[in-house]
Symmetry: C2
Subunit: 337 residues, 2 copies
């Protein structure tokens, strides 16, 4: 019988298989191609070196000091998102009209073009490039938090059609939100009740249980979480409690690069080239300090499209037991060594 | 600038475009085929007449009294879901293990095979068949609520790959949950604060504003909701306040059939054959009566795959202004008359 497991971080339920895990080839989605690419789209790709004029002016780039902005010769390039969900203009204002209420979308939305090369994917990058990308995230995180209108910084990557990507050229995104999303409110609730960090306690318990561990380094633990919302979902948990992603150490950047490269490689190579997301969870900014927060990375293969049951109830249905998924992933992580 | 609109029903925020609506052809998803179908899969379809032995024994069917169960000769057929998220065995038990807690998946999950004919889709059915399907939903709703272990009955349809369907043969599903999902908690909160039904108030305000109305009948109002989570999303709101879907009148069944046929036809014909869901929202059962609930139907085209931003923040991003979408849909509803 499937099991309802409490997702303590989101304070919600997930329906999970308990003994079996749908095999990578059994997901119907895997019959489809994950790419949007057509011949025309790659020629006109706005993220390619040489096509800098197709994008809004760049915000930041790693480039030779002698080369002017918005020209070729860069390594990682940040540009405003042309279809931004948020714009940093004016102050946040709430409007009420009868039963309805709204805020203007004051915030920030940028794209991190991870490589000048079209067709090389994140998991194929060498570790230097992945470190450079993570360091770019940290730089931008610490710049954006200086704007008091921004209350939460969301860094994420959509790779492939079923992960919500709309361009194939490898990129990630950074959003500055004017309000704090309540998705991870379970962390606060747990802290209020126990005066302890939920993720620190989870790390302790998973290290004893062992069956959901995928990989371990000196500074990180990779697990298939107990209440995995997505099949073969992985959490990359820093062992040291730190609230803000922007505060991570140089050694953490190095190890995180290794782990994320492995996790994305395994998804592409062993889960049938699945679409995936990664999400950096962190603490809110320009708000009172919240000791219950503990930054971590979710790496989510998108093997299933959420159906009406997920949309209506809010409960994810996961046909792959996290314990069985972890066993498979653990082997694959080793094979990559 | 996009706008953050409060989704009062879910007590959450949605980021919506305010002036423009992405045109049906502009959604990248529309480049893909919505079908899973391959030649082999349609020959072995377990929902086809003649293939009754491929499914678990039927629960209920509209069929000639002289024909035995699990044989051809039916019109609508209900069978257990072979990959059930819930099973009706034993009592609900909660288990705690350190920081983790779970319940066994006590509940019910069935499939309504809407037609014996492979290849005829819901929007192509005549009104008699759609009424028969809705009446089947009502019969099953009222049977399932007799089991005190079931606390919420979720009726829904997944059509197409991007709506989470895994078989092409037209079908819908009914789930009996052992706990009440909190998705629509905004209805209760509004009632506690105002001693009024939120949906009744929304109907009143939308009738005055007019711009978000798609269609109106004597008993129903079809709108693009103010805080639409999905592009071109429609809500079918019964004007008469009734908590339970299972209590609807014969006239409501007749009008609902007309409206749902129109809505699904418009999605297939005018939104590039988009995948879609419909969801029947209703009140919980075997729980204290909740006067804040007001049953209604959501019809959701799936033109966008939720990206990491949606998964991480819980805020849907909708690039189609509901006011502009409603104008387009209003015309299309008229064209179908």
């Amino acid at each position: 019988m499937p099991e309802l497991r409490k997702d303590m971080v989101r304070n919600n339920w997930v329906v999970v298989a308990t003994e079996r895990a749908l095999k990578p080839n059994d997901f119907p989605i895997n019959k489809k191609d994950v790419s949007y690419e057509t011949e025309t789209s790659s020629i006109h790709c706005p993220f390619c070196e040489g096509n800098e004029s197709y994008t809004p002016p760049e915000i930041f780039a790693y480039r030779d000091e002698n080369i002017p902005k918005n020209y070729p010769g860069w390594s990682v390039r940040i540009i405003p998102n042309k279809f931004a969900a948020f714009e940093l203009t004016g102050e946040l204002k709430q409007e009420v009209s009868g039963v309805f209420s709204s805020c203007n979308g004051v915030g920030h939305h940028e794209v991190v073009v991870e490589t000048p090369e079209h067709g090389t994917e994140f998991h194929e990058f060498n570790l230097n490039r992945i470190e450079l990308i993570i360091n770019t995230f940290i730089i931008r995180y610490n710049v954006l938090l200086k704007d008091p209108r921004i209350k939460y910084i969301q860094i994420y990557k959509n790779r492939g059609l079923f992960a919500g990507a709309s361009l194939d050229h490898s990129h990630s995104q950074i959003v500055g939100l004017p309000i704090v999303p309540e998705q991870n409110k379970g962390l606060t609730e747990y802290y209020l009740e126990n005066e302890r960090c939920l993720l620190c306690d989870i790390i302790e318990q998973e290290c004893m249980y062992k069956k959901r561990i995928v990989y371990e380094t000196e500074l990180f633990l990779v697990i298939c979480p107990y209440a995995s919302r997505f099949s073969y979902e992985m959490w990359v948990l820093p062992k040291e409690h730190r609230e803000h992603f922007g505060d991570i150490s140089e050694n953490e950047v190095k190890e995180l690069s290794v782990v994320i490269k492995k996790a994305t490689s395994v998804i592409v190579d062993c889960l049938n080239n699945a679409s995936y997301n990664f999400i950096i969870n962190t603490s809110s900014v320009n708000t009172p300090q919240n000791p219950s927060d503990h930054w971590f990375v979710e790496v989510i293969p998108r093997l299933i499209v959420p159906s009406a049951l997920e949309v209506s109830t809010g409960y994810y249905i996961n046909p792959a037991a996290p314990e069985v998924s972890a066993e498979l992933l653990r082997k694959e992580f080793k094979n990559i060594d």
